[in-house]
């Protein structure tokens, strides 16, 4: 029920009713009916606030009890401590049954009890481990915790629970990878991520206007990006450029596909995807990035490393498939330059790895050609984004395109051995370009 969420609009409409009746637009009965309809929605929202406060209150009481108990913790027998460890979880589960039976229609109740259950499962496992001196590392603890929590997200349709799950999964993969990023077992992250996808899909289908969609989208993108970074490090096959090009393009294309027709501003997926594409393109324009060997795999690659390479390459494949599918149906709702990014990155990766092996310790082939390709690409991307921004009448998006060009120019100034005078002139040209373009843009908008 999207209408019940916009309280400000409801308040405004109810305030307008007497004027509408006085003006003869609607009769008094209709005004009464409208007022009754929206007063129920307002009451539901008050309920939300109450439940949130109640949740905070009960959390504080719980924390207080834990502090009191902790004061004498060492004096309790093992059995007593064990009972205390399980108590919050049992309370949360009883509340869970109550909510499923009696408050299943209230998002506030469902969200609160889901968070409570997820938190108390973690507490119970941690306390039992401590009481019985059960050994084990943090990553294993997190994985068990997340697997016991994911059904709760579905059962209570809990957005906060889903976000907590994604944070936990990202923390797990970082903990599992360790500082070296090369410890085996990290690919299980993608199983954890897949488990939340149906929930996210359901949300996309139901509607993308609410805060839940935005928050969960950001959490999903950040968690997946962290997982992808661990994956490409673990794969050890220089697939990072292609993988991230594919990842951000997939996010961007999905965002553009789900763009609501009426809205002039971009949704959160298109924004993050577009930003990711631009930043990655500028980063990849540096020559040093492209010092890679030919193949994605070395002879010593383990099965899990091969899996990591495959997973990393799934993202560019998905992006190309998405773009091609829309292209074939004649629905091009996206920036063509942005959609081409995975292809460009793949070609650059092949070019960089092509050529005779120098035989030295640094396996240097043709990074220069790859970086030239990416420089040209980033320039085209910047221009296209700017033109699209101008066409859409968005100052922000037009300037974003300009920003990409400026960032590229800056990168080259710092990258190359140009004299101070040349760099100075370059900065002036880029700055003047910004000013002139905006002047032109605003004048055009003013005359229109």
């Amino acid at each position: 029920m999207a209408e019940s969420t916009d309280l400000r609009a409801i308040r405004w409409l109810r305030g307008q009713l007497p004027k509408l009746v006085a003006g003869g637009v609607i009769n008094a009965q209709s005004a009464d009916a409208i007022d009754r309809h929206y007063s129920a929605a307002a009451a539901r929202s008050t309920n939300f606030g109450f439940v949130i406060l109640a949740a905070i209150g009960s959390a504080l009481v719980g924390a207080g009890i834990i502090l009191l108990v902790a004061h004498n913790w060492d004096d309790f027998s093992r059995t007593t401590r064990c009972g205390i460890a399980f108590l919050p979880l049992v309370v949360a589960q009883i509340l869970g049954f109550f909510v499923l039976l009696r408050r299943n229609d209230s998002p506030a109740w469902r969200e609160s009890v889901a968070i409570l259950d997820v938190a108390t499962v973690g507490t119970a496992i941690a306390l039992v481990s401590q009481i019985f001196q059960i050994q084990g590392n943090f990553a294993n603890f997190l994985r068990v915790w997340m697997l016991l929590s994911i059904p709760i997200v579905y059962l209570f349709r809990a957005n906060f629970g889903a976000v907590a799950y994604l944070i936990g999964s990202a923390a797990w993969v970082l903990g599992k990878a360790g500082w070296s990023f090369h410890r085996p077992g990290t690919m299980f992250f993608w199983v954890l991520l897949l488990l939340i996808i149906p929930f996210y899909g359901g949300m996309v289908r139901r509607g993308r206007a609410g805060w839940g969609f935005h928050v969960l989208s950001v959490a999903l993108i950040v968690a997946a990006a962290i997982g992808l970074q661990v994956t490409v490090e673990f794969a050890n096959g220089a697939v990072g450029a292609v993988a991230f090009a594919g990842f951000f393009t997939t996010v961007y294309l999905a965002g553009m596909r789900w763009q609501d027709d009426g809205s002039r501003s971009l949704n959160v997926l298109s924004l993050i995807g577009g930003l990711g594409i631009a930043v990655t393109a500028v980063v990849l324009s540096f020559e040093d990035i492209w010092q890679v060997r030919a193949g994605f795999l070395t002879t010593g690659s383990s099965l899990e490393q091969k899996m990591a390479v495959t997973i990393a390459l799934l993202f560019p494949a998905a992006a190309i498939a998405l773009a091609a599918w829309s292209f074939a149906r004649g629905k091009i709702f996206y920036s063509l330059a942005a959609a081409c990014f995975p292809l460009v990155a793949t070609v650059a990766r092949l070019v960089a790895g092509w050529g005779p092996d120098s035989g030295g310790s640094s396996d240097r082939r043709s990074p220069f050609a790859a970086s030239i390709l990416l420089n040209v690409y980033a320039l085209v991307l910047g221009i296209e984004l700017m033109v699209r921004g101008i066409r859409a009448g968005s100052v922000l998006r037009a300037n974003f395109g300009l920003l990409v060009i400026a960032a590229l120019a800056l990168a080259r100034f710092f990258d190359s051995d140009l004299s101070f005078v040349t760099r100075g002139v370059g900065f002036i040209v880029v700055g003047a370009g910004f000013l002139i373009a905006n002047l032109f843009f605003f004048r055009k908008r003013g005359s229109a």
Binding site: A124, V128, F132, I134, P151
Partner: protein
């Protein structure tokens, strides 16, 4: 739909309770039926020792005389015996499992000049936040080479090893800290 949801939640709730409860049950079995072993502690890397809510443990028995190195990241089993001073030592290492109250699973580490380093399945002793700093100091003082008076007791039962207590000067840690409040 509603009853299906309730049934599903009941299953999930049972799993959420069952997992920690299973660990409790297994540990309780080992603690009640297992054979008691005493392990002399060894100094730990001070960087490792400060880990907030537990005391990092190392043991003198983790260095085992062995002619050949065990492959790292493999699973090995240590067969324990009681030394002349009453503390546990590793009799021999093996790649094959054995059942009994004298076998624990260990993780092989480095090998140097006929000495194989292994890690026991317990390397931390959980304490409450309140006593953690004092416990850390007492443990460090108790594992100095000139004054070795710290040890732990663990019970071993059917391959499961459960850490029981950390002793300093023959007193359980909490009791020792109560008797030596200034440290």
């Amino acid at each position: 739909m509603k009853s299906f949801r309730l049934l599903l939640f009941a299953v999930v709730a049972l799993a959420q309770l069952g997992l920690p409860a299973g660990a409790v049950w297994m540990r309780s079995q080992t603690l009640s039926k297992g054979r008691l072993w005493k392990f002399r502690t060894a100094p730990v890397d001070p960087i490792d020792a400060v880990r907030g809510r537990y005391v990092a443990l190392a043991f003198t028995a983790e260095k085992v005389p062995q002619a050949e190195a065990l492959p790292p990241r493999s699973t090995a089993y240590a067969f324990l015996k009681e030394g002349s001073d009453g503390f546990a030592v590793v009799d021999h290492l093996s790649n094959t499992s054995g059942h009994g109250d004298n076998v624990i699973k260990v993780e092989p580490g480095s090998w140097w000049k006929g000495e194989q380093h292994v890690s026991f399945p317990f390397d931390r002793f959980w304490v409450t936040e309140k006593i953690a700093p004092a416990a850390e100091r007492a443990y460090a003082a108790g594992t100095r080479p000139e004054k070795e008076n710290a040890y732990v007791t663990a019970r071993v039962h059917d391959g499961d090893a459960a850490l029981e207590q950390l002793y300093i000067d023959d007193q359980p840690l909490v009791e020792y800290l109560r008797n030596h409040p200034t440290r």
